[in-house]
């Protein structure tokens, strides 16, 4: 896992639920690339087609609330998201994302400090986020040991394969 991430910011609001991240009408789709093409369609259908590869989503409070659908982090990963930074996250979404190797960073107040299109430098190990344009450095909550362990393994799948002795 990369411990330093740089990406262009796309901002969304508070309480962005998993229906907005991945609307119910697309739930039967299983092709991951296709899932990615509908990412955040409940917020704005123009986000996915124009999303910069490796971009960072910045959100307000309770990002990922609602349904437990794992399509939400699958969609974010396949749209090209390298990390999500938010004031706070909902619980099941948090687990699902870490399990799939998508880093989530809790940074209280981030949604008010950063502007759409700016570039963020995220340091996962030290728990900081820097806005490149203004050089403003913000302190974040560090990820817990369990979450860090899973991310370092590249997600829960490689971790389980290692545990049960199955090779890639």
């Amino acid at each position: 896992m990369k411990k330093e991430i740089t990406g262009k910011v796309t901002i969304v609001g508070n309480n962005i639920d998993t229906d907005q991240i991945y609307p119910g009408c697309f739930l039967a789709i299983t092709d991951e690339k296709e899932i990615g093409s509908h990412c955040l369609a409940g917020v704005d259908e123009n986000i996915a087609p124009n999303f910069p590869k490796g971009g960072v989503i910045v959100a307000g409070t309770n990002f990922g609330c609602g349904s437990s659908r794992e399509h939400a982090p699958i969609a974010l990963l396949n749209m090209g998201v390298s990390a999500v930074v938010a004031d706070s996250f909902a619980r099941i979404f948090f687990r699902n994302s870490i399990n799939l190797g998508l880093p989530l960073i809790v940074c209280k107040g981030i949604s008010k400090r950063v502007k759409d299109g700016q570039t963020l430098l995220i340091d996962l190990e030290n728990g900081t986020v820097t806005i490149k344009e203004t050089n403003e450095k913000l302190c974040c909550d560090k990820l817990g040991d369990q979450a860090m362990k899973i991310l370092e393994a590249g997600g829960i799948k490689p971790m389980m394969r290692a545990r049960f002795g199955k090779s890639e």
């Binding site: 907005q20 609307p23 299983t30 609330c65 040991d145 799948k157 394969r161």
Partner: protein
């Protein structure tokens, strides 16, 4: 320790657990719904071969019951193959209903257990004194392989509900009042223990409504100490022996909130957020909220009690031309009871559309999708943008009585004049 902590301790082989600790605990029942074919893929990707215990895992085909298109039919087919290959004792195909209703009916939910399902509303099973929580596909795949999952022991909040509900106020109104105060992220990562005289006297269905929507406050799980109604229900159905857990008298909650149920009035969660709660009286003060559709169904509001109150309000009457009422019994058992008691006939005569037991349009999959600009009043649990169809539709969440009274008049209406 709290009863929930005792459940975690028992299933992780410890004497004691404390909030914040990470434990690996055995799962007593694992359920996969039909949105989660990814679980099967993840299971094989992590090196799974056979499900750890064929007695303790089941599929429930509820979100696409029966399959509305080729893709969901193909997903069902793959999941059926997996169930067959693993010889799973329990299987709930498209002819059963919503997972959170059919599991208790089948006796796989009982006090003191851990149930994990690929559905956020698994908090429902706190109604039975169980620890229920939702997870995603990959967590579920690890459970199917190992029978275990890691958990962070949650801090526990007490929500004490005291008093008797006035006429026209239902468990749905009670949980909306809690949501309006605690907000959509008020209990993220935490557990909610619902206590108080209102909970002690509440029947099984009412308890399920309240625990069901605990997840809308962000809760990891919900709990209610089982009462006589619950113990009667599970003693007739449970497929395994069980132990009811009790909270020690010296247990300290992280926070306690007290609600006086006796002063409540009918409430609504207004578009587009579950915590955008106001009294119905305020919402219609000086204005008319015209409706295109009423919806009674889901793991929150599709039980016999919900359909009964709607039938009482609508019996012998007709909903207005150009409006619609979709009624989705939560399970086949519920549908049978409602047929026997004549509720289904009453509702059909009033102009309702009855659809297959399942999740239906609650999550915008099929059977009652909303068009842009339409307004729906619903006994379900979520009113997010696009939840039941178009992102330009509006959803008000309410009790089944409020839904019935409102659609009868084609506009949001106080149910107290009808019950």
């Amino acid at each position: 320790m709290h009863a929930l902590e005792k459940i975690f301790a028992k299933n992780s082989g410890r004497e004691q657990v404390t909030a914040g600790e990470i434990v690996t605990a055995k799962v007593d029942f694992a359920e996969i719904n039909d949105l989660y074919l990814q679980t099967v893929y993840s299971f094989y990707e992590i090196g799974g071969d056979k499900v750890w215990d064929s007695e303790k895992a089941a599929f429930v085909f509820d979100h696409y019951a029966p399959a509305p298109d080729i893709k969901s039919a193909a997903n069902h087919a793959e999941m059926r193959e997996f169930a067959k290959k693993n010889n799973l004792r329990f299987h709930f195909d498209t002819n059963c209903g919503v997972c959170h209703q059919v599991m208790p009916e089948a006796g796989v939910i009982y006090p003191g257990m851990i149930v994990v399902a690929t559905d956020s509303h698994t908090t429902t099973h706190g109604a039975f004194g169980a620890m229920g929580t939702g997870c995603g596909a990959t967590d579920m795949a690890t459970i199917l392989m190992t029978g275990e999952l890691w958990f962070r022991i949650p801090e526990i909040i007490e929500v004490r509900l005291e008093g008797n509900a006035p006429k026209g106020v239902y468990p749905k109104d009670v949980i909306l009042s809690v949501l309006g105060k605690l907000k959509a992220d008020g209990a993220v990562y935490k557990a909610i223990d619902f206590t108080g005289s209102y909970v002690d006297s509440l029947n099984v269905a009412g308890r399920m409504v309240i625990c069901n929507m605990a997840v809308e406050i962000g809760a990891k799980t919900a709990y209610m100490q089982p009462n006589k109604d619950v113990l009667n229900y599970v003693s007739e159905r449970a497929v395994r022996p069980y132990d009811v857990q009790y909270t020690d008298p010296d247990f300290k909650y992280e926070e306690s909130y007290v609600f006086d149920v006796s002063v409540l009035e009918p409430l609504l969660a207004c578009p587009h957020s579950v915590d955008n709660v106001d009294t119905l009286a305020n919402v219609i003060k000086g204005k008319t909220v015209e409706l295109a559709q009423g919806y009674i169904g889901s793991c929150t509001g599709g039980r016999e009690e919900d359909i009964a109150v709607a039938a009482e309000i609508l019996r012998g009457k007709k909903i207005p031309k150009y409006t619609r009422l979709v009624v989705v019994p939560a399970s086949n058992e519920v549908m049978q009871l409602c047929l026997e008691k004549g509720y289904i006939g009453d509702l059909i005569n009033a102009g309702a559309t009855i659809t297959t037991p399942g999740c239906g349009a609650c999550l915008g999959a099929h059977e009652g999708i909303l068009a842009p600009g339409e307004v729906c009043i619903s006994s379900t649990n979520r009113n997010f943008p696009g939840r039941m169809g178009s992102t330009k539709a509006e959803i008000y969440l309410a009790s089944p009585a409020t839904v019935a009274a409102s659609i009868l008049n084609g506009k949001i209406t106080d149910p107290r004049d009808y019950v």
